[in-house]
Symmetry: C2
Subunit: 399 residues, 2 copies
C-alpha cells in the first residue's frame, strides 16, 4: 500500500512538471507571494554582519534567535513555550520523520485522520507501523471513535491536522478538540499535531492547539506540535519546527543529530533576519486575502459548473478543497481524462490508508492564478460532463 | 553503548561552546576559508535571476544543474556518473541516515572500520544493527578481516572512509582498495563509501573510489558514494550528495522524500552559482595549503613536546591527527585534566563500538589558527607531563 502511494504521487508530480498543465495537484503556495527582494536584503545583511559564522557548523537545536522568535509568536497566541522546547527542522515534514524515528517501532499502531496527509503516511510508513484511520467528520474526529481506538489499539501516535486539514480542508471544532485532549491526557498515546495552514485563515477565529498542557501553557506532555514557515514565507528555505516537552525533545534531538547534524544555518539566519526586519503579519494578511479570493473563485466555479450531486468543501482557510463525486464514479478515471485536457488534481484514494475514497479528489487553490482557476475548473466540468453522458449512454446500451 | 556515545559527544560539544577554550575537539573547517563575499554575490544573483523559483518547493532529487556539476567533477577524476545517479542531501550525514532507512533492518550486521566516525555509529545505530568493527591498519582494512567478516556475518552494509579517515587520518592503499572491491563484488554487502576529506590532500596522488564499477566507470552496483561541499565550500549550507546505481537510488529517493521532501533549494542554487562563477580549484588549493601548514605545525609541536612513547599519525590530508598514549593511560582522564587548562579534544573511545581505545584521542588541526595550535599543544604537553609525574609518584608511594 505505502509503496503504491509513493509511486503514484511521483507519477502525478512527474505529469504536473509539464508547464502546459494547469495543476491543482500539488500543495504549493503561489510563488507571487514569496518576498523575494526582502529575502535578498536579509541574505545580504546576514553575510555582511554574521559573515563566516553563518556558514559554519551550528547547533543541532537550531539558531537560537529564530527559536526565540517562534516562542514569542506562540506567546502572542497565549501558548507559553520555552525556547528549549523548540527544535528547528527541515520543514515540518522532517518533524514527522524525527518523531517516527524517536518513538515508533515496527508494528506499533498509529492513528490518523481519514483521509490524511499523504506524506505523513510515507514518513511514518518507513517505520512499518499499523495505520488505524479514524473517519474525519465535518468538525473533526468523534470522541467515541478516538476512545474506542485508544483502548483497542493502544496506539503509539495520533497524527492530526486540526486546522484546514490536508487533504479535506476540515477544521476541528472547539468541542472535539477538548474531548480529544481529555482522552489523550489519560492515554499513553502521543499526539502529533501538524499545523502548516493555521495562519492561512480567511475568516472566523483561530482556536488554540489541541495538544496544549492542561494549564493552557505549553505543549501537553503527550503532544508534539509541528509548524513551518513554508506557507507564510517560502517553502524552498525548508525551515519548520517541532515543539515538545523535554523528555520527548531529548530523543528527537538525538534523531535530528543523526539525521543531518542540523538544519541549514544560513537559511535559518536569513529567515530570522527576514522576520525581524519585515512586517510578517502584514505579509500573511496579504496571503490570506489572495488565497481567500482564490478559494471563493474556485468554490463558485465548482458550484456553478458542476451538477449538485458533486459536493465540495468550503474551508475557512488553508489551500485545499475536497470534492466528492457521485458514488460509483472513479476519480482515477476522472484524473486520466482530465490530464488529457491538461488539468491535474490528486485522486482522493491516495489519502486513505485502506484503499477507500475512490470517488473523492483534492483540489489545490493556492498555486494557480485566478485565470488558471477559471480555465481549469471549466475544463474539469467539461470532462466530468463527458464522463457522465458516456456513462449514461453505456447504461442505455446495456438496458 | 550508542546512547552513551550520544550524551558523551553532546557533553563535549557543550564544553567546547565556551569561547575561552582552545578546541581541537570538533570536526570544523577553519571559518577563515569560507568564501563569504562570493556566497553573498551568488545569493544576490540567484534571487535576482531565478527569483521566486528559488524559494518554491523543488524536486526531491535536488537542483539539476548542481547535480550536473557534481557529475562533471566526478568525470574529471575519471569516474563516469550519470546525473540520475546523484541525489542532493543535507550534508553527507543525511546520506548515512537515508541509506540506513532504505536498507537496514534491526539486527542486520554493519561492518565499520575500527575506529570509525562517531556520527555514523549514531545514524546507523538508530536502526538497531549489530556493529562489527574491523581493525584499521596503517593502510586500510586487511582483506582477510573483510573476507572473514563477510562470510561470518553476511553484513548488509560496510561503512568506510578510505581517504584521511575520521578519526584516524588513515588512507587506504591501492592494494587494499582493490582487494576489498574484489571481495565486495562477490558479496551481497553494500559499501557505503564516505569521502568528506578526499579533496583536502596536502601531498601524494589521489586514488579512485573503492566502490567503482568493474569497468571503472560509475559507482559499483554494490556501492554508495557519499560526498559533501562542507569541507570545500561551507558546512552551514548543509549540501552533500549520494551517488548510487538506480536500484539503490530508487529506495533512497523514497526515503529522502519521506524525510524532508527535498534539500534547501535556495542553498542549492546559491552553491551552484558559487561553483559556477568562482575558481573552485584555486579555492580548494588555498584550503589545502592552509590545513597542510596547520597539520605540519601540530605534528611538529607534538613530536617536540611529547615523549616518544606518545605516537601520533601524520596523515596526507584531511583534518585530524590520531594520538596514542602509552598503554594503561586514560584519554578520558587526560581530557578531564586538559579541559581545566581550557583545551579540548575527543577521547578516542567514542570512536569504537566495543569500548576499546581508552588510551587514544583525536586532534583536529583545521579549525584552530596557528597561534592557538601552538598554545593548545603546549598546554596539552604540560598536562600530560603532570599526569605522568603524578602516576610516577603514586607508583613510588605504593612501592
Amino acid at each position: 500500500m505505502t509503496h503504491a502511494h509513493r509511486s503514484f504521487v511521483r507519477e502525478i508530480l512527474k505529469v504536473t512538471e509539464d508547464p502546459s498543465i494547469i495543476s491543482f495537484a500539488g500543495g504549493l503556495p503561489n510563488p507571487k507571494v514569496f518576498p523575494v527582494p526582502a529575502v535578498a536584503r536579509a541574505a545580504e545583511k546576514v553575510l555582511s554582519e554574521a559573515g563566516a559564522a553563518s556558514l559554519q557548523y551550528a547547533a543541532t537545536e537550531g539558531f537560537r534567535p529564530l527559536r526565540e522568535y517562534i516562542a514569542a509568536r506562540y506567546a502572542r497566541r497565549g501558548v507559553k513555550v520555552s525556547v528549549d522546547e523548540i527544535l528547528i527542522t527541515n520543514g515540518s515534514q522532517q518533524g514527522l520523520d524525527l518523531i517516527a524515528k524517536a518513538l515508533l517501532d515496527a508494528g506499533d499502531a498509529v492513528l490518523v485522520e481519514r483521509p490524511t496527509y499523504l506524506a505523513a503516511i510515507q514518513a511514518f510508513g518507513l517505520f512499518e507501523p499499523r495505520f488505524v484511520a479514524l473517519p474525519l467528520e465535518e468538525d473533526g474526529v468523534s470522541p467515541s471513535a478516538i476512545s474506542d481506538a485508544l483502548s483497542e489499539h493502544s496506539p503509539k501516535l495520533f497524527y492530526a491536522i486540526p486546522n484546514f486539514q490536508n487533504p479535506s480542508g476540515i477544521s476541528w471544532s472547539a468541542e472535539k478538540r477538548t474531548a480529544a485532549a481529555a482522552l489523550l491526557e489519560r492515554s499513553d498515546t502521543v499526539l502529533v499535531e501538524d499545523d502548516p495552514y493555521g495562519e492561512l485563515r480567511f475568516k472566523g477565529v483561530p482556536l488554540p492547539p489541541l495538544g496544549l498542557a492542561p494549564d493552557g501553557s505549553g505543549p501537553a506532555s503527550w503532544a508534539v506540535l509541528l509548524g513551518t514557515f513554508s506557507k507564510t514565507v517560502a517553502p524552498g528555505l525548508r525551515i519548520g519546527w517541532l515543539c515538545a516537552r523535554p523528555d520527548i525533545m531529548e530523543s528527537v534531538i538525538v534523531a535530528k543529530q543523526a539525521a543531518d547534524l542540523h538544519s541549514n544555518g544560513f537559511a535559518q539566519r536569513v529567515l530570522h533576519r527576514y522576520v525581524t526586519d519585515n512586517d510578517v503579519d502584514g505579509h500573511i494578511a496579504m496571503i490570506r486575502r489572495l488565497y481567500g479570493r482564490q478559494r471563493d473563485l474556485m468554490v463558485e466555479m465548482v458550484k456553478t459548473l458542476f451538477p449538485p450531486e458533486v459536493s465540495c468543501t468550503k474551508p475557512e482557510g488553508g489551500m485545499f478543497l475536497w470534492m466528492t463525486l457521485p458514488e460509483g464514479m472513479s476519480s482515477m478515471d476522472f484524473f486520466d481524462r482530465s490530464i488529457r485536457e491538461k488539468v491535474a488534481f490528486v485522486p482522493g484514494q491516495a489519502f486513505f490508508t485502506d484503499g477507500c475514497g475512490a470517488n473523492t479528489l483534492r483540489l489545490n487553490f493556492s498555486n494557480a492564478d485566478e485565470a488558471m482557476i477559471e480555465e481549469g475548473i471549466r475544463r474539469l466540468a467539461r470532462v466530468f460532463a463527458g464522463m457522465r453522458s458516456g456513462a449514461a449512454r453505456a447504461a442505455e446500451a446495456k438496458a
